[in-house]
Amino acid sequence: MSKRSPLRRVIIYTGALLLALFWFAPFVLVVIGSVLPEVNLLSFPPTWFADPPNLQTYDYIFTGKIPQSYEQRGALRSMVSNEVRDVPRAILNSLVVATAVMFINVIFGSLAAYAYARLRFPGRVAAFNFTLMSRLIPAVAIAIPYYLIVQAFGLINTYSALIAIYSVLTLPFTTLVLTLYFRGLPDEVDEAARVEGASSWRILKDITIPLALPSIIGAGLFSFMLSYSEFLFALFITTTRERRTLPVIFGSLSTNTDVSWNMLMASITVGVIPTILLAIPVWRFMVRGLTSGAVRG
């Protein structure tokens, strides 16, 4: 790095600060909102910090113990949004669906990618392009047919329907990423094994997969995250609180005009935690994959 002028450093740090504010301040506000009594949040003029913060909202989400302020007579409201108590269950639903989708992606995505990258078969390019192009159809355009298909199979409100749909939505991307990766692996090892009489299957299992494992896991986690966050299909396929996924619960809370706001903030904080834990490995995989080697200039 060449030496930098003071002006340049000021610009860089100002930009970094603004960016950090833009991206992180909303989370801080949510956490603050979650520990303040709702009376203070709803007051005008604002008196957020008039009463000490507490963790009663979290207590309610996990144990059902109603916070004191909601029990007092004359408090601003007597109703608690009990939907926030569905959040832990919704996290579980999302995790179940997303994990299944991830395994399907890892297994079938690697198989397809290996075939596209290494085997010669008629229609290879056409099939590859078709798989990719299928993702360019907007989700809302196929929502009704998907709904009718799921209904015809009697799979409304089941994990299986969500898993099938998300697999279709994520497999093209997984296949693309892994095909590009497999192409980049050296051919010589494969050739040597083939000369020794190893089958394609054997080469895939004992050579290609161990070599490509980090990428396969990365692509799998990516499909996990997309499934964990998907909203439109989950919205009309899940119908009961036992099956609703996390995005659907929050979609429902967002249309509740009488929602308890500090409860909502607490439930968002709880709902964000799994994403933080899962997203870091995915992002590291992406940043590393993108910014080193994968794009050859």
Binding site: I12, G15, L19, G109, S134, T255, V272
Partner: protein, 283 residues
């Protein structure tokens, strides 16, 4: 070995698209008996005032958010390409807005923008900047801006990282040579950086346009298309038509129109991509 994926994708692509086309020519609803009506659904949809409004709003949304995303994406990528304390934290931390379910992202911002007791109003009032609360989500123009802000909050991280990847692929010799020739900061940016990242810019523009045209979650959770129809994008309009009014025929006609619209945009943008930028040629 590719067969399972191909079969699954084909089954869940060709049949639904065919089904959508078929339905778009019929009166289809759980309430009424189904019958063929030809292109009537299309005529009703295209002639309807609400559709034209939604189409206009969608166009406005794309034109407002996509250029902003690309310009900000370049700036953020240039910033992250510098070394400074906290660069790593910023790179990893900014994943969160992108990785969150969009309904959660929209709810977080709803808490900020809410006109009755939102954090923004409370903060501005407490610091004496405003005397009356501003209806961020109840004023049509401001509500649209709010949707753009949340959209940028969730999409900028990925776009910035993609542009950053392209920046890092530029050989540093190019800059050294330009420095010897006495090129200034802007000269280097215009003559080296910009041409080098152009293929990536086309790809992220394509991505941003697709995301803008299919944005649904944010509108659903932040504004429900309101106030009035101010933030009703075509996707939200289609959802209301299909799953609230249960008018599957008109919904399918809308879906076909959206698919065609996206396809047209994709084709136009694909023509702008230099050969070999997306798929490497293999002997």
């Amino acid at each position: 070995m590719a067969a399972p994926v191909l079969l699954l994708v084909a089954l869940f692509t060709l049949y639904p698209v065919g089904r959508a086309l078929y339905q778009s020519t019929r009166i289809e609803s759980p309430i009424f008996p189904s019958r063929f009506v030809g292109l009537e659904n299309y005529r009703d949809v295209l002639g309807g005032l609400y559709f034209r409004e939604a189409a206009g709003t969608t166009l406005w949304f794309a034109l407002a958010s996509v250029p902003l995303l690309i310009v900000l994406g370049i700036l953020v990528a240039l910033l992250l390409n510098e070394s400074f304390v906290g660069n790593g934290v910023l790179r990893v931390g900014m994943l969160l807005p992108w990785a969150l379910p969009a309904t959660v992202a929209a709810l977080i911002w709803k808490w900020i923008f809410l006109d009755t007791w939102g954090a923004l109003n409370a903060g501005l009032y407490a610091t004496g900047i405003i005397d009356n609360y501003i209806g961020w989500l109840t004023t049509p123009g401001l509500a649209r801006m709010a949707v753009v802000v949340v959209f940028i909050w969730t999409q900028l991280p990925l776009i910035a990282i993609f542009i950053l990847a392209a920046l890092q692929a530029i050989p540093s010799e190019l800059y050294d040579a330009a420095a010897v020739d006495g090129a200034g900061v802007f000269g280097r940016f215009r003559n080296i950086t910009l041409p080098s990242i152009r293929p990536m810019l086309v790809i992220v523009t394509l991505y941003a346009v697709l995301m803008a045209f299919t944005n649904f979650d944010i509108v659903y959770a932040l504004t429900q298309g309101g106030p009035g129809t101010a933030t009703t994008l075509v996707t939200y309009f289609t959802w209301v038509e299909s799953f609230k009014k249960l008018n599957f025929g008109a919904g399918s006609a809308l879906a076909v129109l959206i698919a065609l619209g996206s396809l047209a945009v994709i084709l136009v943008l694909l023509r702008a991509i230099p050969k070999g930028a997306l798929v490497e040629e293999r002997p």
